[in-house]
Symmetry: C2
Subunit: 223 residues, 2 copies
């Protein structure tokens, strides 16, 4: 089996993405980041769940994005809970986050001798983040193949974004058909210290709507 690096947050999308990588014949090497996010519950759960959902190995890299600030997820800005999706890019956008994450994935892939990287970005429910769009993924892949020894020596990288054109409901349906246990996932931007989801942030709203649209019940606990 070939190795693939899978960006893994412990959330619904990246967990589904890992199941898809396995089903496409890869051994998943899960990569998470401790990036100063306010919702460290997510990371604790990712550490616990990674082996349970079939990761061959799980690496957590510490990078302190709080030093930079600039986002509700890493700086002292309130997480919006109005449920109103504005046209503009929301304050939960973290500058260059997916670029930074994919760069580390690229480095690890090169060390592992892997040519495949999976990222669970989604263009439909993407909350307005520029680094969740297909043109970004393509541009990153192109850059990756000029940046690396493997790329230059004729072993090009492929950045897989299998959720790109799926609705949240379709993601959930696909995950369920692959046997994903969504109790082993976490989506809330602002959970309680005990790990209960708030049910009101953008991420909770998208998740709950996804389960409703899929005609399924969300197995995680809400306040």
């Amino acid at each position: 089996m070939k190795k693939a690096v899978v960006l893994y947050s412990g959330g619904l999308d990246s967990t589904t993405c890992m199941a898809i990588a396995r089903e496409q014949g890869f051994q998943p090497y899960a990569l998470s980041f401790a990036y100063g996010q306010r919702h460290t519950v997510e990371l604790d759960k990712a550490r616990k769940y990674a082996p349970l959902i079939g990761a061959e190995e799980h690496m957590v890299i510490d990078i302190d994005l709080r030093k930079m600030g600039g986002s509700a997820l890493t700086a002292d800005i309130d997480v919006p809970k109005s449920g109103v999706c504005a046209d503009e890019i929301p304050v939960t956008y973290v500058p260059a986050r997916n670029t930074i994450f994919l760069s580390f994935a690229l480095g690890w892939a090169e060390v592992l001798g892997a040519s495949d990287i999976y990222i669970g970005v989604n263009a439909l429910d993407y909350s307005g983040y520029p680094d969740c769009r297909p043109e970004f993924i393509q541009a990153f892949q192109q850059m990756a193949n000029l940046a690396t020894k493997a790329g230059v020596e004729g072993h090009p990288y492929q950045i897989h974004a299998p959720l790109l054109n799926l609705t949240k409901a379709q993601i959930i349906q696909q995950g369920l058909s692959l046997g994903v246990d969504y109790q082993l996932t976490h989506s809330c931007y602002d959970p309680t210290p005990e790990g209960l989801s708030c049910g009101q942030c953008d991420s909770c709203r998208l998740r709950l709507k996804g389960f409703a649209d899929a005609g399924q019940e969300d197995p995680v606990s809400y306040v």
Copy 2:
């Protein structure tokens, strides 16, 4: 004055690059990384010298590339000292290093409201690193403008690589003409604990040859 993020290692090239950014009318925001490099002397010197060479601010980001390994600079592989430059990419190559560094620079630039990033890569004396080539820099810039809020909203980033086509001797000559004090720079991959340069690693050899070709004396101390 406009702000620019300058990737700054404390070495000869990035110090010259910062002088060029200033001369081109930018306030330099210096960005360094504690990435598990064996030569932490470099970083200590960077911290000390950044304000002396005119950085407006200096941020050091901790990222543990040792977890990944794969390079003589971050893993337990000997630094080559034969002086023979092989055709293949050397073991001091750190997988995806410049990609990772530029990604953080991009994030910080976005937070600062800066549109300009300086990197002191060099295509002539580049030691065979794929991420020091002009095609890589171009591909990164293209990706950056699709990855970010600023890029999407019509404030494109420019990645400046002013040393790209200069020889080491030309870099030194340009730096001296801009008043760079090369005693405030460090290049050695394998310095003594006291900070003396070895004079034998690739980086020392390139530096010494550069000073010789420029008809100048290197002010740093060697063993």
